[in-house]
């Protein structure tokens, strides 16, 4: 047992929208960490994007002071966790920094896929689970049904706390349960330093700020430290805790949570999951569970304005300071010119990066349809990882292609089991198990190709189950598939940026869907423009954009001239934002047409 009996490290885990951030706000308020007037709703979601989208992207840690009537003074570290499947590795590292978890469940919605996924993750880390049935103030709330479901997933319903983070009900009980039920941290402050980096962010003045949980030993300002995965050594320049403002401290000992800065220049050098130890006489073994961030989804990012190439590179470099999971490499496309092939944890991550590039760096982007990574075994024995469909060399003779699969958990009311299974079959899912934790709820396990669920799977799932089903997944292994590359030809010319890899059985329908989409988004030109989808040399689908027949205003008299000239100038301005592929002018959204090929 460690030496800090007054310390509790815990996190809040929940399905999206079950009220995690509101509960965190309420805990901050109730412990006087923040006065009500200082509260900006959802304090912990600090990026604008997080607040707008209502999801947590970065983990955060806050130190709370809590005085228990019965047991005296406590220091509570609340570690917030990311709330999206793209960031599940980050979630697991945050959980590793805690001894307990509040499992928040919406009293009306009940147990959802992410509830389960998070619960299993928390149990893997031996966390004490405190179920919180939230939103009991809602008219549709049914806490009794939720208690039943808790029983089904192996939790004691008696231990659940009914609460409303909105009106404050249950908050004192939750705080009391944290000190009573979450064990104090273990660890040996006198042992060699071992601290877990569970998050990091870039600060313009201090460099990378690492969020750490000290497991053994002590860390102090001025100390020489070493990051065990990279082997790099630094000197600690700042040490402190978040309350939630950064507050310097003289020492962090075993069991404590805080931050340090050490002149580290980019976030990738202080990777989430890495172990911090002392430069001399450090720990022999790092903490378990580290793995480098592996991008799962790749897309080409091209500046709309070719002269913005350097600007884009600088912006990506700056984003990377704060985003260790983002990767990028220069890439050239026949259609789009010079750009970058970027790797992301998932589609949400891609969207966030795209939005930040456009919003914070004011760069207009052309983004190609995202692709997963395929492993291609050529007949000549060479094996290549293909991040860009255009890189697949069909002519070289392909022995087989493997694609990544995920292990998916889908939870649905029993009445929608049929539609959910149908959807999974359509997406080439491999059925594993079905369980009924309660009479009205089914839990399905499937292995699904990542490439099939990336785009519209979640939307489809929601629309086919009237919004009731939920989804969570973890990366599984690669599996062989009958995959082919579909190429798109515009006016007879191959457009490399539009190629996509797909299962053979769906090549034709998806090729047709993309042709149709392109016909809709590409404006009529002065001549007929054929659009073809082909596999190898074989054309699967064809559409024609009919030539523009009429582009003239009937009237132009004295009072019209200004207005009509402006109309023409605007039309011309719009064209400047188009890409010229051969003779054809193509708007930027055409490159996303492949995304909307869902048939």
């Amino acid at each position: 047992m460690g030496d800090r009996k007054d310390l509790r490290n815990f996190c809040i885990i929940a399905h999206i929208d079950h009220g995690k951030s509101t509960l965190a706000d309420r805990l901050l308020e109730a412990t006087g960490t923040l006065q009500a007037r200082e509260m900006q709703s959802q304090v912990l979601d600090s990026m604008d994007l997080e607040r707008e989208r209502g999801i947590t992207i970065k983990a955060q840690a806050v130190r709370l002071r809590y005085r228990s009537e019965l047991q005296g003074e406590f220091v509570l570290n609340l570690i917030d966790t990311p709330g999206h499947v793209d960031f599940s590795y980050e979630v697991s590292r945050s959980l590793a920094a805690c001894e307990g978890a509040l499992l928040v469940i919406d009293a009306a919605q009940g147990v959802e896929a992410q509830t389960l996924a998070n619960l299993y993750l928390a149990l893997e880390h031996d966390l004490e689970i405190i179920p919180v049935i939230n939103k009991i103030d809602l008219p549709q709330a049914d806490p009794e049904r939720v208690r039943q479901e808790l029983l089904q997933i192996g939790l004691d319903p008696e231990t659940a706390i009914a609460a409303s983070a909105k009106d404050g009900t249950g908050i004192p009980e939750i705080l009391e349960a944290v000190v009573e039920r979450v064990p104090p941290p273990g660890g040996d402050s006198e042992g060699p330093l071992k601290a877990l980096i569970f998050d990091s962010h870039f600060d313009a003045y201090r460099g990378v700020v690492c969020h750490i949980r000290v497991v053994d030993g002590r860390v102090r300002p001025g100390q020489r430290i070493r990051l065990m995965a990279t082997g790099a050594a630094y000197e600690v320049t700042d040490l402190g805790v978040f309350r939630p403002q950064p507050t310097p401290v003289e020492e962090l000992a075993a069991g404590e949570v805080g931050y340090f800065a050490a002149g580290i220049k980019v976030v990738r050098d202080a990777r989430v999951g890495d172990t911090v130890t002392t430069a001399e006489r450090g720990a022999a073994e790092p903490l378990a569970g580290y793995r480098p961030a592996v991008p799962m989804v790749f897309a080409g990012l091209y500046p709309s304005e070719p002269s913005h190439y350097d600007l884009l590179r600088e912006a990506l470099e700056r984003l990377q300071l704060n985003d260790g999971a983002l990767s990028f490499e220069p890439e050239t496309s026949g259609a789009l010119g010079f750009g970058f092939r970027c790797g992301f944890l998932g589609l949400l991550h891609l969207e966030i990066v795209q939005e930040r590039l456009e919003r914070e760096y004011d760069i207009d982007l052309v983004v190609t349809a995202p692709s997963v990574v395929y492993t291609v075994h050529y007949l000549d024995g060479r094996v290549e990882r293909i991040e860009n469909p255009a890189a697949l060399e069909m002519g070289r003779g392909v022995d087989r292609i493997e694609e990544p699969y995920v292990d998916a958990t889908l939870i649905t009311p029993t009445s929608f089991v049929g539609p959910v299974m149908e959807l999974c079959q359509e997406r080439r899912g491999i059925f594993r198990t079905i369980e009924y934790p309660s009479p009205e709820r089914a839990v399905l396990s499937y292995e699904l190709p990542l490439g099939e669920i990336m785009y519209d799977f979640f939307d489809q799932l929601k629309s086919r189950t009237r919004g009731y089903a939920s989804l969570d997944y973890q990366l599984g292994g690669d599996r062989e598939g009958d995959l082919v590359r579909v190429d798109l030809l515009l006016n007879g010319e191959l457009v490399d940026a539009l190629s996509f890899i797909v299962h053979e059985s769906r090549a034709q329908s998806q090729g047709r869907a993309v042709c149709e989409k392109l016909r809709e988004v590409i404006p009529r030109q002065l001549f007929d423009v054929p659009i073809q989808a082909a596999v190898g040399g074989k054309v699967l689908a064809r559409e024609t954009i009919r030539a523009l027949r009429k582009d003239v205003l009937a009237k132009c008299y004295g009072g019209d001239i200004t207005r009509k000239r402006k109309l023409l100038e605007k039309q011309k301005e719009g064209k400047k934002r188009m890409r010229r592929l051969g003779q054809v002018e193509v708007p930027q959204e055409a490159f996303m047409a492949v995304l909307r090929r869902g048939d």
Binding site: V552, L553, A554, C556, G559, L568
Partner: protein
Amino acid sequence: MVTEPIGVYVHMPYCPYKCHYCDFNAYRLPPRPGVLEEMAAGIAEEILRAGGEDRGREVRSIYFGGGTPSLFPPEAIARLIALLHGRYHVRRGAEVTLECNPGTVDLPALRALRRSGVNRISLGAQSFSRETLERLGRGHGPDDTRRAVELARQAGFQNLSLDVIYGLPGQTPQEARRDAEEAIALSPEHLSAYALEVEDGTYFGVLRRRGELPLPSDDDVVAAGEAVRAACETAGLEPYEISNFARPGRRSRHNLLYWHQGDYRGFGPGAHSHFSGRRRWNIAGPGPYLRAVAELGDAVAGEEVLSEEGRRGEWIYLRLRLREGFSLQAFHRRFGVPLDVAYPGVRRALDGQGLLERVPGRVQANERGRWLLHRVAEPFLP
């Protein structure tokens, strides 16, 4: 530089009703006595008091447009013409046009107008199909148009123009041609045939948004336009602008001034003026216009000054609307630079796209180019 004669436009903003396609600065006549008189007095005030470099200039054409100028009492029109004679040197034989709605004319009024100096009538026939007229929201029938033409002739008008619209919802190219032929049968000196343009903010615009307007395809509109052109040419009405046809010597002098980027002065609500690349426009709303004129003697709402490139591009765009296009020499003379120097490679590119008529020393759109005129003009715009 020689000062060229200018044109004068007078905007009369009231109509008995608002047509379904109309997005002009026109208002349904308020049901209160004295409205027309007030407006006429306001415009008279502007002609009398408004400042400007145009005073004393030679005037070659006057155009009363609207709205429905024929709604106004002939005496009001006569007074405005008299005031214009005071402000300008109106050339003998100047073209003086008044737009009429076929449902709003009678012989005494037409005679009075003719006496006061109006010598050209532009009659909004739009169609000769009763159903079509109803669908357009026009308050007159085909016979009203025929009668109005007859009365205008009786009143002594020898220069008469008719307006028709084609490309209407549900209309076939054959029906469009028949409409044009009906108009031609009335032997007008001039015909304007417009492809329908549906604008937001009109009744048709609303129908279109709701998906309730069965507009013909572009191919059908082009076929209709070509059918109308063929009918006109057969009857000796020469096409001279995108939407305009005339017997020899009867082209609209006033409108030619616009297409030549000439100088013109506008009076009345929302009217535009242009002098050497500087364009001004009046306040559009009748009430605010009248208040401004009463207070300040003019009602200027805004102005723009064109850059040299802007003027050049606009000149080319306007000229290209004309069948004859423009000569390389005229461009060089006007802007002091040869066209191919100002726009290197553009002429060759357009020719390569098959949009130009191959006439030595001239730039003019061919048939395909006229229907794609904005593509022809675009490379010349800034």
